[in-house]
């Protein structure tokens, strides 16, 4: 496994860990709709990140844009965005989830990327100090 695959796998694992932590914390301290919002938002954004990753990898591969399949890549990109917008719309308008919880759930990928960035910066600075 190369370094870049390790990095993406690490971020994906951290996403699931953050979802678990935030979901359990909100189930203890917050209401059921808030917890459902965090969990569904987290699942949506993790799936979105995974599909984004696959689309971009495919787009830059030999079979993708270089192979003349540009329209299918663009269609997949917009389809992903449309599906995600539709799901968020249904969740908010139906009232099944708390919108603040949903927004927190949707931030899970951002949290894990920030966590990764802070840890890398910390490692670099401590290495420089030695």
């Amino acid at each position: 496994m190369t370094d870049r695959e390790k990095l993406l796998r690490q971020i994906t694992t951290t996403n699931w860990i953050f979802l678990l932590i935030l979901g359990s914390l909100s189930s203890v301290f917050m209401s059921a709709t808030f917890t459902l919002g965090v969990i569904l938002g987290g699942l949506i954004i993790i799936a979105n990140f995974s599909v984004l990753q696959h689309t971009i990898r495919y787009a830059f591969s030999d079979q993708g844009a270089m192979g003349g399949k540009k329209s299918s890549i663009v269609a997949k990109y917009f389809f992903r965005l449309a599906i995600m917008g539709l799901i968020i719309y249904i969740l908010i308008t139906s009232g099944w989830v708390n919108p603040i919880g949903l927004a927190i759930g949707l931030s899970i990928v951002v949290f894990s990327i920030l966590n990764f960035g802070i840890r890398t910066a910390w490692k670099t600075s401590s290495r420089e100090a030695i």
Partner: protein, 126 residues
Amino acid sequence: MSKRTLIGVVTTVFVLGMGSLAFAGEDSAVKAAGLWVFFGIAISCGISIGMAALGTGLGMGNAISAALQGTARNPEASGKIMTTMIIGLALIESLCIYALVICFILVFKIPDLGGMHELIVKSLGG
């Protein structure tokens, strides 16, 4: 002001004016005020999601352009560049998702029309 903009403004004013006339009853001022509030929310949501999409588009365009330039100059580093680009794109895209969520909240959750009606009645001294 171009002809299209003028037509847009005139149509908006006309529609709102007709709305106010339609509510010309005992609490017409209240309903007209509510209509204006809802109009403001709708316009602000439209503008804000447009600006968010503009910013996201510019950010993603810059990121992808820089990544492609880097890959073209140094093809061996394409893997590292692509990984970093994926992470950056996820971060940029999340901003637009936040804007979308906020717009949905503003349009579908905040305008509690019953509560707004009572509030406007109170503020008008009814």
